[in-house]
Symmetry: C2
Subunit: 247 residues, 2 copies
DNA sequence: CGATTTCTTGACTTCGGTCAAACCTGGTGG
DNA sequence: CCACCAGGTTTGACCGAAGTCAAGAAATCG
């Protein structure tokens, strides 16, 4: 996959995540200050962006691609605890070292800010602090949603939940929302899905096959997914089929 | 259980959570403004403080007691997604309706602020917004920690994890930290523990018995717990026994 | 003291995990 | 062009941890 985004934007106003990232509320002057401390970095799929425990020199936003926050136990059991999509923020102001591994799931472009200057800027720029609070509250909601999935749903429901989340996100990006069938490419391997859902990759594979056999999803190859009936998928996920207006 | 805290504090400076709650960084003038929009409410153990979906007229802090955030599926499966201890914040500025049920696990006293005035005050008081961001980031970390527990730990490890969290909190409150053995009363029923851990109450009971039989914990009655060896408990939880310095 | 809630324990079932083998699919080099 | 390989994936056989159903025991409370 080749990257369509030139590595150095002359200015933030062209940025694809301008209106959704931590800089969303910033005015021209504030953007100018951010421009001065920003730089871009790219990572290839599979690369580790940050190791848990490492010193953090920067915070930043995912511009394109998908990254994941992952926790690992000594014996190797791993659990993904966050899925970072374009515009999502990485790093915690005020913290010295990283609390989780950050992995590039696909090729990733990040817009990085040197940490110290960013913290100083944030301290005197309510627009940034306010946006970061909003985003953090949204992430907390997402994490809590996920706790229900991890704690109480069956394997089939877990898979359906993940697919419906990805489908919903893709639908919100494409111009023709509500258009069925929904079609997308899975950005995750079966193993990554398993790590997200607290399952083994074998169980993920089996449940994908079962959902396919039952006509809930269509598969071409391993990654290309078609969802003929979104309502059906959400029923399978155990979610309230009507009131699903989250984000 | 009788409440030791008088319902109306003449001023915030006497408040037991003054230095930990959302008002922690406030100066005298800011506190005076908060005093004007605050009021106290009490709830009995088992009462519902807020129903998911209800209109929120207030936000606030837990002053004493324990509350829980809980999600429920249509078929009755429930998952606790947050445990609210004294000084924890309830409600989300900018949101109209509650996203989760809030239940009083024990008798609870809350310090409430009328929502509208609080939001206005927050908008012009960086001290409050900054503290709320800090607290939200901490909650997010706790939620992610819990995702590892829910997704990857065995029933025995889950119980040990919950006990070590409660023990650690109690140890941080008591003056003589690091003092072993650690002794405390479980503030949760077996069912609440199960809802927290994504287990059934039978499994919770069995694993509690097993940990008791193996000498990891001592039980007097059902609720009074003694932990003779905190390191041992943390091993059982599958946590790194040394670097465990989280909050 | 009953009565009710909470907890424990047992017997059995089941869902998802483990181990192992085979299957694609796309890339590499002969 | 094809053989071969490697990573990702699928599928099968079997197992075990946790769930379900049910009966009692213990604590709590009017």
């Amino acid at each position: 996959m080749t990257l369509q985004i030139p590595l150095e934007h002359s200015n933030c106003s062209d940025c694809p995540i301008r209106h959704r990232a931590v800089c969303a509320h910033c005015d021209g002057d504030e953007l100018a200050e951010l421009e001065e401390i920003k730089y871009y970095r790219t990572f290839e799929a599979g690369q580790t962006i940050i190791w848990s425990g490492d010193q953090m020199n920067f915070v930043g936003s995912v511009v394109s691609g998908i990254a994941s926050l992952t926790q690992t136990m000594e014996d190797g059991r791993t659990q993904m605890v966050g899925l970072l999509l374009p515009s999502d923020f990485v790093g915690r102001p005020g913290r010295e070292s990283a609390a989780y591994d950050v992995l590039a799931t696909t090729d990733v472009v990040m817009c990085c800010f040197r940490k110290k200057p960013f913290e100083e800027l944030m301290a005197r720029t309510p627009h940034i602090a306010h946006r970061l609070l909003q985003m953090t509250l949204d992430e907390l909601d997402a994490a809590r949603e996920w706790m229900l999935v991890l704690g109480r749903k069956t394997a089939r429901e877990k898979i359906a939940s993940l697919l419906s989340i990805i489908a919903r996100r893709d639908a919100s990006i494409s111009k023709d929302r509500r258009a069925e069938p929904i079609v997308f490419d899975l950005p995750l391997t079966r193993e990554a899905m398993a790590d997200y859902l607290g399952l083994t990759l074998e169980t993920v594979s089996r449940q994908m096959s079962a959902l396919k056999k039952d006509g809930v999803i269509l598969l071409e190859g391993k990654r290309h997914v078609t969802i003929p009936d979104m309502g059906r998928l959400m029923e399978e996920a155990g979610d309230d089929t009507d009131g699903g207006f989250l984000v």
